[in-house]
């Protein structure tokens, strides 16, 4: 940490050390105490106090209640449950194959296996989007740009796993 970097930090983050990068904060404060040019924070303090005037925009009345109501009617994705379906189908295919091992049953076994594979494919392939849902959304931690169906996420389900008290909130 040198004076140049200290001035860069103050120019970017302002006078409040709480906003400074955590990894550099202690060194920056030590430098400020020991050898930084006098009054280096003064310019920034004035601006910070003005910015503080807009720090807490008021929330609209009833906002959290409305938010709770919307979330109560939403449900987390059931990936785990969905993932079990193909697994069970594969087990069924293996069982069918073993049950129809005699040569005479092999054509029937082939047909049954094909049917099971079709079933598996059907569970794995999502239905096509109608394109009428309006807009894209971002729903993945790795890739926020993956488009998903907004309407089905926001309005397509109800009440899973959350308390359904008939009132807004989380049943507290």
């Amino acid at each position: 940490m040198d004076n140049k970097r200290l001035l860069e930090i103050i120019a970017a983050y302002g006078s409040d050390a709480a906003r400074w990068p955590a990894a550099e904060r202690d060194d920056a404060l030590a430098l400020l105490e020991s050898s930084a040019p006098a009054g280096v924070l003064e310019n920034e303090r004035g601006l910070d106090s003005l910015l503080a005037a807009v720090a807490n925009e008021p929330l609209p009345q009833g906002y959290l209640q409305r938010l709770n109501a919307v979330l109560t009617n939403s449900r987390p994705q059931q990936r785990a449950a969905e993932a079990r379906k193909p697994f069970m189908a594969v087990r069924l295919a293996v069982w069918l194959r073993q049950a129809m091992r005699p040569a005479i049953l092999r054509p029937a076994a082939g047909l049954c296996t094909a049917a099971v594979i079709g079933l598996v494919a059907g569970t794995l392939v999502p239905p096509p989007s109608t394109g009428a849902t309006g807009g894209t959304a971002y729903n993945d931690q790795d890739d926020l740009y993956r488009p998903v169906d907004v309407a089905s996420i926001a309005y397509g389900s109800s009440g899973y796993g959350l308390v359904a008290t008939g009132q807004e909130g989380w049943g507290q």
Binding site: A11, N56, E57, L71, Y145, I153, W170
Partner: protein, 209 residues
């Protein structure tokens, strides 16, 4: 180093404990697991911790209360949907701010395409009593100054000064390096200082009034 003030339950331990980043990520992952399981306490904590910030960030980007609430709700619903797959890679707030930022950019783009100007009046959801008039006016002046900044500079200031994100988290939301973020912030603050200096007399007058 950040800490969490808590209320004495599984998600909000009683003491104010300094947390490392990995601690924070682990606590939040536990919270999200609770949300995925539909545990009321986890849901309540996440709504109370993230809901207000979600609205405020959306409002700061859009300057329209109704649209801001719409986007904040949409982002929170996405968070709920993401809960079963949540991994401790990023803070909940960083993820949420990213989603809100993208959604707000979509709205702003649509506004431009439809030829609509951003709400000039900047509707304030709280009417504000007479005694708070000067503060409301001062807020209006500062907000006007913020609105004169280029979009990315303004968002950088909003994320670090008002939304409580660290530089690294804000850089992640804007998808830029830390150096680029600091450059955006420094330019924004320089412009704001000049703009607000020009209006210093007005601000002082409002303070006196």
């Amino acid at each position: 180093m950040k800490s969490i003030a808590t209320r004495g339950n599984a998600y909000e331990p009683e003491a104010v404990t300094p947390l490392t980043r990995s601690d924070e990520l682990a606590v939040e992952a536990a919270l999200m697991l609770g949300v995925a399981r539909g545990e009321p306490e986890a849901c309540r904590v996440v709504v109370e911790q993230q809901g207000p910030a979600a609205y405020r960030f959306a409002f700061r980007l859009l300057r329209d209360s109704e649209e801001a609430e719409d986007i904040a709700q949409e982002a929170m619903v996405r968070l709920w949907k993401q809960a079963p797959d949540w991994r401790p890679l990023a803070r909940i707030s960083t993820w949420l701010h990213k989603v809100i930022y993208r959604l707000a950019l979509d709205r702003l783009r649509r506004r431009r395409e439809e030829g609509l100007e951003a709400a000039e009046a900047m509707p304030d959801p709280s009417p504000g009593p007479e005694a708070a008039f000067a503060a409301v006016q001062r807020r209006a002046v500062v907000n006007e100054a913020l609105q004169t900044l280029p979009e990315r500079q303004r968002t950088a200031v909003q994320l670090t000064h008002f939304q409580g994100l660290s530089g690294a988290e804000a850089a992640s939301v804007l998808d830029v390096s830390i150096e680029a973020l600091e450059s955006l912030l420094a330019r924004a603050r320089r412009t704001l200082r000049t703009t607000l200096e020009d209006r210093r007399a007005e601000l002082l007058e409002r303070d006196d009034g």
